[in-house]
Subunit: 321 residues, 2 copies
């Protein structure tokens, strides 16, 4: 989107003029009956239920503006929220965005952020229907996502049964590899470094999994083992991950692992932020999903995740605090 | 809500244990079919449309933890979001909350914040159905509110017609008065100082206004004249405010104005954050609403707001940047 005075700050432009620049010329999908500009937006909920989730990103905690462009950050903020909707078996319809930034933020960078958000929303066929812009000491981006179930029941974390196949679709460990490459200043591996800046959740596959009878599902945001542990705990089962099933993920990271002196399996089991989907299926897997483990009886033990039948001693994944 | 180790920090407790403490024992309303604990929540949308809005509050910009308790801040965050839903003629059904805070934040204070949010949500009969908790250099609270229209059309800012009566319900200028009292260290006037910490939007009156044929509506968040200007601009009309109609508001602030050396009319016309509702009505006003002006032909002039027929030279209201 073009900006008249690209170097002007948000404080110089003022809230309402800045918001005008962020929303001008955007095309809302047909189910948005009222978009930005009023006290609230109105979005169709044909299912009669709305799926809703929220994620907050803080500068230098969840993104770095020296690694990522504002456009990247906008894409990532929408993607990780959309993945939560996908993980229920629903489809994202609309987003609202809270954006905090210093007054001296150049308006063109806020517009870039919004452009990235719209890029990602359009991949989903969704709209950004409202927001709030406030002064803050650093960038803070808070997104809430709405989704529609299309008449299906939500796929929860609880519901996995003994004998189900654990399967995944989407990148696993790529964002973690990209982070280490960025952090250590290792060039090359552009695709992996790009995946750290902008994940690529497998949009549409949440609904596919639901239609294929998935009994439990989540997205890989904290790390594969950490997120599978949420399913294991909610379902009261043990999940055994088979590293043979993760071979394609490990192989994809082998060269980067060698360059960084890291073990690709650690990235695959412990790395988050790729927003792959993992689900449990009693029957045949949908096309494109790969088997990565099984749901087994926990016997007298706690609900937990094992790797090739044994406890895993590595990093358990991302901690918010 | 009781906390086992009240002095422990969020970093010490960890994200998931802290979230467990924030959500334990809360009662969701019947239209929340899935509350916190999964990737997303599921809320009934019986109207077939969802109203959605978001507001972000940043510590030391929108609240001060030396003036307000975490409980107050929680109530305020929900109240100002709920008011946006009310201003569409809808009823708030559910909220999701993003909460950023330093790792050393005492967990009991985060629980107090959640308790305040639940207090306010219960006044509305709504639920807090999900959230995200992250580390941030200062407290940041981002709320998204969902609402249901109950089969009515949304009342937008556009729609005011010449001859409509402009009317209001709820406090006007109280929060601004309370701010000046706090800022100048003037004791007494507990009710006004309390209204700055926790506004009291007139819950339920948005739907009442819609059923009474309101042609345009908004809530007073930035200041009466600033918010009426949004209606005037969206509707392409001039709104003339009658100070005689604001006499009860002015009188309620007279003693505080004298104590602070401030002009109560400035608080009433320029002060925001009370989240009163203002609307335009072609017919009789609903009970409890008071006439504060009329919608008049703008002639060849711009859409704008006048006071007793003349331009007003005072503070135009809150600026975010």
């Amino acid at each position: 989107m073009a900006v008249d005075h690209p170097d002007e700050s948000l404080a110089g432009v003022g809230e309402f003029a800045a918001i005008d620049r962020l929303v001008a010329g955007r095309r809302q999908p047909p189910w948005v009956s009222l978009g930005p500009g009023d006290d609230a937006a109105v979005v169709a909920a044909p299912d009669g239920r709305t799926v809703v989730s929220t994620d907050m990103l803080v500068e230098d905690r969840h993104f770095r503006l020296d690694w990522s462009t504002p456009y990247d950050v906008g894409r990532k903020a929408i993607a990780q929220n959309a993945a939560d909707i996908e993980a229920m078996g629903a489809r994202a319809t609309a987003f609202v965005v809270g954006f905090g930034a210093p007054g001296e933020t150049v308006t063109a960078r806020a517009v870039e952020l919004a452009d990235g958000m719209w890029h990602e929303a359009e991949l989903l066929g969704a709209g950004i229907v409202g927001g709030d812009m406030v002064r803050a000491p650093q960038w803070v981006i808070s997104v809430a996502a709405l989704g529609d179930l299309g008449g299906r029941e939500p796929v929860r974390r609880a519901g996995a049964n003994r004998g189900d196949t654990v399967a995944a679709i989407g990148n696993i460990g790529h964002s973690a590899a990209g982070y280490v490459l960025w952090h250590n200043g290792i060039n090359g591996f552009d695709e992996l470094r790009g995946r750290h800046r902008v994940p690529e959740p497998p949009y549409g596959q949440g609904a596919v999994a639901a239609r294929s009878g998935a009994t439990a599902m989540t997205d890989v945001s904290d790390g594969l083992l950490a997120d599978l542990a949420h399913i294991a705990t909610a379902s009261g089962v043990r999940i055994d991950v088979h590293t043979t099933g993760l071979r394609p993920d490990i192989d994809a990271l082998a060269a980067a692992g060698a360059a960084a002196g890291s073990e690709p399996l650690d990235w695959v089991l412990g790395g988050g932020e790729d927003h792959a989907l993992v689900a449990t299926f009693p029957d045949a897997l949908p096309p494109g999903w790969r088997a990565i483990g099984t749901v087994v009886d926990r016997g007298n033990g706690p609900a937990r995740v094992t790797v090739d039948g044994a406890e895993w001693g590595g990093d358990p994944g991302w901690q918010s605090f």
